[in-house]
Symmetry: C2
Amino acid sequence: MSKFNEKTVKSDVIFEGKVITLQVDEVELPNGKLAKREIVRHPGAVAVIAITPENRMIMVRQFRKPLEKTILEIPAGKLEKGEEPLVCAERELIEETGYRAEEMKFVSSFYTSPGFANEIIHIYEASGLESGDAQPDQDEFVDLVEVTLEQAFEYIQSGDIIDAKTIFAIYYWENTLLKR
Amino acid sequence: MSKFNEKTVKSDVIFEGKVITLQVDEVELPNGKLAKREIVRHPGAVAVIAITPENRMIMVRQFRKPLEKTILEIPAGKLEKGEEPLVCAERELIEETGYRAEEMKFVSSFYTSPGFANEIIHIYEASGLESGDAQPDQDEFVDLVEVTLEQAFEYIQSGDIIDAKTIFAIYYWENTLLKR
């Protein structure tokens, strides 16, 4: 599937931040014309679907500056340099929620915004949960929230749950986990 | 849900492109410390779930420069300035695939990457489809592909389908549309 390839003619890094890098590439289109592509480079991330023995999904409430809004999400975080996604999933679950998982199973990976970013999220399913103390990063302010499936759908309705990975997780819970 | 708010102390626009704007905000954290937030502003987008009378999902194959890869996605596109998402959904479906929809029903909206971007995607379900000629933008090279549910899951396995909105669409097809 390569007939539409866009050959890079020039690539300029505009900004290198702590989280993302922005570059603008000049590309040659299949018709020979030139075009610009604005590209955000991201280290990738993991997110964790974790259901307690009481059949509640573990979520975190946190303020998201790009949305100017506090929302509920499944535990997630960026990959550190060279970090395996599985290791990152175990780490983020403990840091954000205090829960340790006996088992961490890969579910799916997806790109969030293929039009302008290379961010990929690897989703894991945690089981054999044991609660403990959260260990958030110094600049991270998160509340642990445990929600039933019914509450999860109410939070989707109210807009408190409104991001791709968390909505995916809730449908996965309803359509896969609860049907096992 | 506002106790974690981050007050903006300073906001610098680093880059204004055709598609995205990058800004870096300095914020005051709940503990009084300062931190930087790298934020990508995006106009928002729509995506369309469209199933033909032959029970195939309408998809487009296109090269995505941020991934350096050609992938299969549901028809989608950015909102133009002031454009209603519903109007954008109708427009993008025609432009990318040639299909016109008799009815366009809102399904869901979600943020793709709340950690660093404000991109929101509005998902619509098209019905009463009538085929026609595609009218792609000048710089847009897309192939129309129609896939069965079985093929869709094979494409997820092979990595040809690998973005959040399209995976959402396939699960929605399986778990909602096919159960009506």
